[in-house]
Amino acid sequence: MSGDSPFIIVLLAIVGGALRVSTPFMFVALGECLTEKSGRVNLGLEGTLVLGAMCAYAISFHSGSPWLGVLAAGCAGSLLGAIHGYVCKLPRVNDIAIGIAMMLFGTGLAFFFGKAYIQPSAPRLESFSLGAWTGNQQIETALQINPLLLVGVVVAIAMSWAFANTKWGLIVRMTGDSAPAARAMGVSVDMVRFLSTTAGGFLAGVGGAFLSLFYPGSWNQGLSSGQGLMAVALVIFARWDPIRCAFAALLFGATGAIGPALQSVGITQGYYFFNAAPYILTLLVMIASAGSKQAARNVPGELSITK
């Protein structure tokens, strides 16, 4: 096997990177997708992500069980989502402004309570390799899969199925597209949005758990580099489709791995430029979707950013 060809190495590194770092994107994007489908924008998921990371790490440290940490992260995320959902249903409240406030609140809270957990080391989530059968060390390393990634993929498929085939899925879509229609049917719009935002917060919190319990795998204040915000752009890119959200997350993860991958084969020129690739991609996505007619047609009608 010509595993030493630089091209293969870079490709493997990018695939590995995509599998490794895309998970938080995926969870936050799926959470945001659910929230936006119900007609509300939650920009606070960045804060949710960070608080989730902190809670996961702390609980994993105290209980010794990383999965308990994941659950705690989800609960912390739900709490932030619930606060957002509740405040937004008060009259004359702007969900975007509240989202920004919640983002600062979430990160602030995490830093405040997280001080004590910067030093100690907590048990982390175990990974397994899809490439073990090849016997090739490089492929094995590249195809390290974390269990949360699989959970994310399952959640994406389940959400996509639920939006089309369940009563609750249709009610969420209906609320997001036409609140008067939902009200005419006796659906409580505020309640649907409250629950969607809470569930979306849960997913984003779990995404945070990945950051502190798997990769990078420790808790510190610089843990998130804006993944929570980029995931919002990613939802637009994915045109509010959970399956496409999962693919978009993988794509963002892959672009993030370009820089380190090139460095590993000795190409250091433009290292910082390639490291910025996900951010550049975010910008391009925003510009492209602003002029896209298709995106305009898929956007939930009640979303305040499009009104």
Partner: protein, 516 residues
Amino acid sequence: MNVLTMPSPPAGDAVRAYSLKTIGVSKIFGPLTALDDVSISVEAGEFHALLGENGAGKSTLVKCIMGFYSADRGKVLLNGAEAKIANPRDARANGIGMVYQHFTLVPSLTGAENLVISRADAPSIFDWKKEKAGLEAFLNRMPFRVPLDVPVSALAAGEKQKLEILKLLYLDQRLLILDEPTSVLTPGEADEMLGLLRGMTQRKEVSVIMITHKFREVTAFADSVSVLRRGRKVGGGKVSELSVEDMARMMIGDTPIRDRAIRADRAPGDVVLDLSALYADDDEGLPALDQFNLKVHAGEIVGIAGVSGNGQSELVEVLSGQRPLKDGRIVVKDEIFEPNRKSYAKLKIFGLPEEPLKNATVPRMTVAENMAFRTFDQPPSAWLGWWLSVGPMRTKARALIKQYRVKTSSPESAIADLSGGNVQRAVLARELSGEVDLLIVANPCFGLDFASVAEIRAQIMEQRNRGAAVLLVSEDLDEILDLADRVAVMSAGTINYVSPVGSTNRAEIGKHMAGH
């Protein structure tokens, strides 16, 4: 109750339709008595029209029936027994369904999804195979069908309206209330839909209450009618025993009506407005104007007819500088026209856009200020073009308020506090007070009472008689047939039919409105 397992409609004799009576229903909103002791009676299988001007209380009455409002006095009898309806859900459970003026279908959901989710007993998890089979069986019993596999947003207005009605039938509603159901349809679509409903009432499958202000629909389709004016029932009975004149008199009462606008006999002059090959996009970036061509001469009114949403609003916005033109040329009196303040003043172009409170005024500024928008930067209201004097502005506003009979407590009240008709008059006063060469008018009488309608139409006619070129965009075909010298039909962003009003008819225009 699961509609899918219901027996197919019984043949002939069995009556499925419900009867409804209101007895002395009254509704008071603060100082306003919106409904005063209104009693109407709809037999099972009857097509009942509820006629009245805007604000006469028609909507309030049906909202009391539907449970949106609770009546302060009076009761509703359904099939002879008193019905307790506290909210729209109760109404639905009682078999009363309503089609609103604005669509209540969810645009991004398909027709099938819309129907199934609206069912009270919608399952938690859908078995689409079974649901589709059920829907197919349901459609086969219906007099009309609509494609159910595409998102509702992709359906034409007429199809959406039919789907709204299908939804009520799918939910097994036996009494249908329709709130001006034909306002978004072509005359052909409207006739088809009302004809189908009439067939269903004749077979006693449903009863229908239809809110309308179109006499033609009443005489052609309804069995009986109730006329409301200022919250009271002022008349009604069998349609066959009433003439249009009778109904009109009941509707407007003793309000004196200005005579019908008199059309001076004059030959059209030179071309004033020449629109050639206009292209523009709508808000979503889809083509709204698609090679639009039209000429308007001095001393003529050209009426643009069409189903709403075929680019009429965008055309008016382009002409008033609210929307960029992608391609094409607007020539006014042999000059290329740029939509800016200077050209409007120089070429004497004035306009009355639809929804004037939104498009032609600043709602929170005063009536006087709003009336000065055309002249505030010219003497005597301004010195050197920037130093404004309030005195002359106010004087002028007073004169206009008097001349155009704008009802306002003072020139200093916010224009948003005026009623719709008075906002329209105030804007008209501002636009018509100078010399007008080109007048662009869009739905000028939408939602106005009879007296205001006659007055505003007369003003428009007067400008035409004076020699102004008038472009009239209207969703009301009767208005166009009444006012225009030539009618142009707009469909899918382009004009596909032009004819002098005298040598065409409703059916011909309707055919072109549908895009044929």
